[in-house]
Each structure stands twice: as structure tokens, then as C-alpha cells.
């Protein structure tokens, strides 16, 4: 190439000196950027940003730090929301359900090994729905207000509303498990040895114990709870019957189905009686006794005594159910 240079026309030094002074026009920056971007796009790369070396070197660490902060905030927020998420999950049908009066561990013991698997699935109830035992009767006994930062009062209201929804299935499930346990015991005639808690046991949880100041509210709360229980049980009767209508897996299941049908009928009777006023209830017990349904009358009387321990009994029932 140097040979070619030697063969070149001698450059005019004066012209070459003057020419650069004529101006250093260049493409506009926008055109520069467009061409660079096109070149980078052509090979699938991103153009180098014109930022300072400082910003380039700190871009990745700052991005990571921001990501960590956002992640930590989300984790903290989710931890705060976690109890509600737990409550929103529907409770197991056969498991013991927590009760507002803290009687989750007082579910009736199975009277016989045959019903043992159904009485309790061994699932612990969520602790956060169990209020203190000495909580006075309140308009909302099912929910326990959780401590919430003062900055979110509105959010708490929304949470309370959401939490109140899943309490319904929990209540129904509780009534169902109680009813099934009690009815099975009744059908097996084991009530006398150890009276099982019927569905009304839950109703007691709504009653206030040992507080004279709120004694006046006892009857109202109890009746409200009774209505709720009766409605829940009535709503679930169809489900129970559907479950009981399912075909038995084999011949060995036939006696069990019969027992369950009897238990369901007995449960219906119990529920219907428990929804009556005390006087009417006693009249029905007397009728049962007269009809010779002694077991049913005894069961009902036992429940009556639990419900109304101080209510005066007629002379015919004072000494128990006799033929």
C-alpha cells in the first residue's frame, strides 16, 4: 500500500489545511440514534446506553435491592393476611369443628368402636376462631376481632365481612358432626351410659355463663342460636340424605346404613324439639313417653335438662322417663 502512496498525486497541503475549516457537519443525533438502533436490532442486541459509568455500574445492584424490598414487603403483607386465608378455606366435614365457646375438645366420645372413625378425624380446629370461654354474649359471637393496626380500620371491616362468610359452612359442619354423633349413639342405645352432646351443645356456646349482668341476653342469644342451628341443620338435611342414599360398597355396609337412617330420623326429632319453647318441648317429651318411645324421650329430656337446667319439670318427668 505504501507503493501506491508513493504513486499518489501529491496532496495539496494548503487545500488540505483549508478544507477542515470549511465545517464539520455531521448527522443529527436523532439520525445517529436511529442508525445505531437499527444496527443493534439487526444482531438482536440492545444499543449501549449513553448513561454514565456510575449509573451503569449501579444499575444491577439497585435493581436487586429494589426487588428484595418489594419481595420483603409482599412477604410481610402475606403474613398479615395469612390468618384470614386460613379461615377462608372450607373446614373438613368429618373433623372436629372449633366452637365459639372453646368446646372443640369436648366433642362426644364415640360410644362404640363402630362409630369411632366417623366421630373425629383428628384434625385440629383453627385456633383463631375460638374466643375466650368467658366471653359475654355478644351480637357477633362467632368472630373474634383480631388486633389490627389503627391505620387500616376500613380494611378490618372488609376482613370481618369476608370472615363472616366461611363461618356458615363451619357452623353447618359442626351441627352435622354433632348430630351424626348424637344420632348414632341414640341408635345404639348408649345414651344412658354416657349422654352424648347433641346439636344443641353448640347452642350452649352462645349462652353466657355466670354473668348476671348479661343474664337478660341469655334467652335471646340462645333462641337466635337455636334458630341458626335449626336452619343449618335443615339446610344440611338434604346433604345428609344424599350422602346416606349413596349405594353401600358391600353387604357389610347394610346395617350401618340402617343405623344411619335411624340416627337421621332421631336427629330430625331432636332438632325439631329443640326449636320449641320449653313448655312445648316438655309436652312433646311427655307425648313420646306416652307413645312408648322411651329412648327418644330420655334423650330429649336429657337435652332439655342441659339446655334449661333450672326449668321446673312436671311431676311425671321429675323422676326420669318411666313407662
Amino acid at each position: 500500500m505504501s507503493d501506491v502512496r508513493h504513486d499518489d498525486i501529491e496532496r495539496d497541503s494548503k487545500l488540505s489545511t483549508l478544507y477542515p475549516l470549511a465545517g464539520s457537519d455531521g448527522p443529527p443525533p436523532a439520525l445517529d440514534a436511529a442508525i445505531r438502533a437499527a444496527a443493534h436490532r439487526a444482531i438482536g442486541a440492545r444499543p449501549r446506553l449513553a448513561g454514565s459509568p456510575f449509573s451503569r455500574s449501579w444499575r444491577v445492584p439497585l435493581s436487586i435491592a429494589a426487588l428484595i424490598v418489594v419481595s420483603a414487603s409482599l412477604v410481610i403483607l402475606m403474613r398479615e393476611e395469612a390468618p384470614e386465608v386460613t379461615q377462608l378455606t372450607p373446614p373438613p366435614v368429618a373433623g372436629p369443628i372449633s366452637r365459639p365457646d372453646g368446646t372443640a375438645n369436648e366433642l362426644p366420645k364415640p360410644a362404640s368402636p363402630a362409630v369411632a372413625p366417623d366421630s373425629s378425624a383428628g384434625i385440629k380446629p383453627p385456633q383463631q376462631v375460638v374466643p375466650p370461654a368467658n366471653t359475654p354474649a355478644a351480637p357477633e359471637p362467632l368472630t373474634k376481632r383480631r388486633a389490627v393496626p389503627e391505620a387500616f380500620p376500613g380494611a378490618m371491616d372488609t376482613r370481618e365481612a369476608e370472615r363472616a362468610k366461611p363461618e356458615r359452612p363451619a357452623l353447618k359442619s359442626q351441627a352435622r358432626s354433632d348430630v351424626v354423633a348424637a344420632s348414632k349413639e341414640a341408635s345404639l342405645e348408649s345414651m344412658q351410659a354416657e349422654p352424648a352432646r347433641p346439636a344443641e351443645a353448640k347452642i350452649k356456646s352462645y349462652e353466657v355463663k355466670g354473668s348476671p349482668a348479661v343474664a337478660g341476653n341469655m334467652q335471646g342469644a340462645a333462641s337466635a342460636a337455636k334458630k341458626e342451628t335449626a336452619a343449618a341443620a335443615a339446610g344440611k338435611d338434604e346433604e345428609f340424605r344424599d350422602v346416606q342414599r349413596t349405594p353401600a360398597p358391600g353387604p357389610a355396609a347394610a346395617p350401618t346404613a340402617t343405623m344411619e337412617r335411624q340416627a337421621a330420623q332421631s336427629t330430625d326429632n331432636l332438632l325439631s324439639l329443640s326449636s320449641l319453647p320449653p313448655a312445648k318441648w316438655l309436652e312433646r317429651i311427655e307425648e313420646l313417653r306416652k307413645q312408648g318411645k322411651l329412648d327418644e324421650a330420655r334423650t330429649s329430656l336429657a337435652e332439655f335438662r342441659k339446655r334449661y337446667p333450672d326449668y321446673p319439670l312436671p311431676d311425671t318427668l321429675k323422676d326420669g322417663i318411666r313407662p
Partner: protein, 191 residues
């Protein structure tokens, strides 16, 4: 900009860009954008058109990157693309390709009137002289002007200018001689 980029030759940078190094293109573009733009601007005399032609040249280079092999200096390759685009531009104009591109020797030396160079104001200031030089360059036939601009902007040899413009070396040399003679006469430069 990494030091290796600034030290690399144009051909090496173009090969790196062909192989996917976007940064190599940035270096190449930075080196040649000014000269190529002025070449276009002074050849067509219109800034808007010059920008369009300038962009077309670089886009052609980007599209042709995959087939790039080092057969000559990168500058020769680049200005060959520019020359071809300029000829296409001329062809698209009403006048077609200027006749000077077909004329081996170009017009006679007196084509540029020397009278304008006698203006004392031109010698008063170097910048004014430079502006006068631009006027004289603009008055050159296109082919001679192109040859002179390539020599000034790219410092290519006559041989390389001939390759870039697609003419023989003698033709390129002749054009350059004519251009320089006219400019010197117009600037009233002695010796």
C-alpha cells in the same frame, strides 16, 4: 468505549460486528459518520437529501454485514456503497447521472472562474477562505468533486478512490488532478 475497540482496525471491527458485536459497529460508525455525511452533503447540496442518502448507506452496510469479507480497506468498502447510492440518487433525478462521471478527463481547467478568488475578504480570514473553498468545491464537476472529497475526508489513495468509485486508477488520478488545479486557481494559491 473499551481500549481494544479504539485500537482495532476498521476491518476488524466490521468483522466483529458481522459476528454479533454491536459495540464494534458503534466504534465504526463514530469513526466514519462525519466524513461520510459531509461527502453526501457536498455531493448533493441538500441537507435533507444528504441525511436520507447517509442513512441508506449505513442501512445497506448493516444488511450486507453477513456477507462482509475483508477484500479491501473498510473505507473503500463503505464509500463504494456511498458512491453507488449517490449514483442511484442521480439516476432518480430528472438530469440523470452527471456527465462528468463519464468524462475521463473532465472539463477544461478554466471551468471555474478565477475572478471570485480575487476577493480580498477571502484571504482576510482562514474561515472565510474555507467557505470560499466550499464554493469552489461545489462548482466542481461531480466526478472531480467526489474524488477530491474522498481524498480529503477519507485520506484514501488514488488506487482506493478508484476502487471506491469504480473507475480505473488513471481516471481517478486525472479527476483528482483537475479538481486540485481548479481549486488552487480559484483560491489563487501559488505553487
Amino acid at each position: 468505549m473499551p481500549a481494544e475497540d479504539t485500537a482495532a482496525g476498521d476491518e476488524q471491527l466490521m468483522e466483529r460486528y458481522r459476528d454479533g458485536d454491536a459495540g464494534a459497529f458503534d466504534v465504526l460508525y463514530g469513526r466514519h459518520k462525519g466524513g461520510l455525511f459531509r461527502y453526501m452533503l457536498r455531493q448533493c447540496g441538500n441537507r435533507g437529501v444528504a441525511e436520507e442518502l447517509f442513512q441508506d448507506v449505513w442501512m445497506n452496510l448493516i444488511r450486507a454485514r453477513a456477507s462482509y469479507t475483508v477484500r479491501a480497506k473498510f473505507t473503500t468498502y463503505l464509500y463504494r456503497l456511498a458512491h453507488n447510492r449517490l449514483i442511484d440518487h442521480y439516476r432518480a433525478q430528472a438530469g440523470g447521472v452527471p456527465i462528468s462521471f463519464d468524462d475521463e478527463d473532465g472539463p477544461p481547467l478554466d471551468a471555474v472562474a478565477p475572478g471570485a478568488g480575487q476577493d480580498p475578504a477571502i484571504t482576510a480570514d482562514a474561515r472565510q477562505q474555507a467557505q470560499r473553498l466550499l464554493q469552489l468545491i461545489d462548482a466542481l464537476p461531480e466526478a472531480q468533486r467526489e474524488t477530491f472529497l474522498l481524498q480529503q475526508e477519507t485520506e484514501m489513495s488514488v488506487e482506493e478512490i478508484a476502487q471506491a468509485t469504480g473507475v480505473s486508477r488513471e481516471t481517478a488520478k486525472s479527476r483528482l488532478r483537475y479538481a486540485i488545479a481548479k481549486l488552487r486557481a480559484g483560491m489563487q494559491l501559488d505553487g
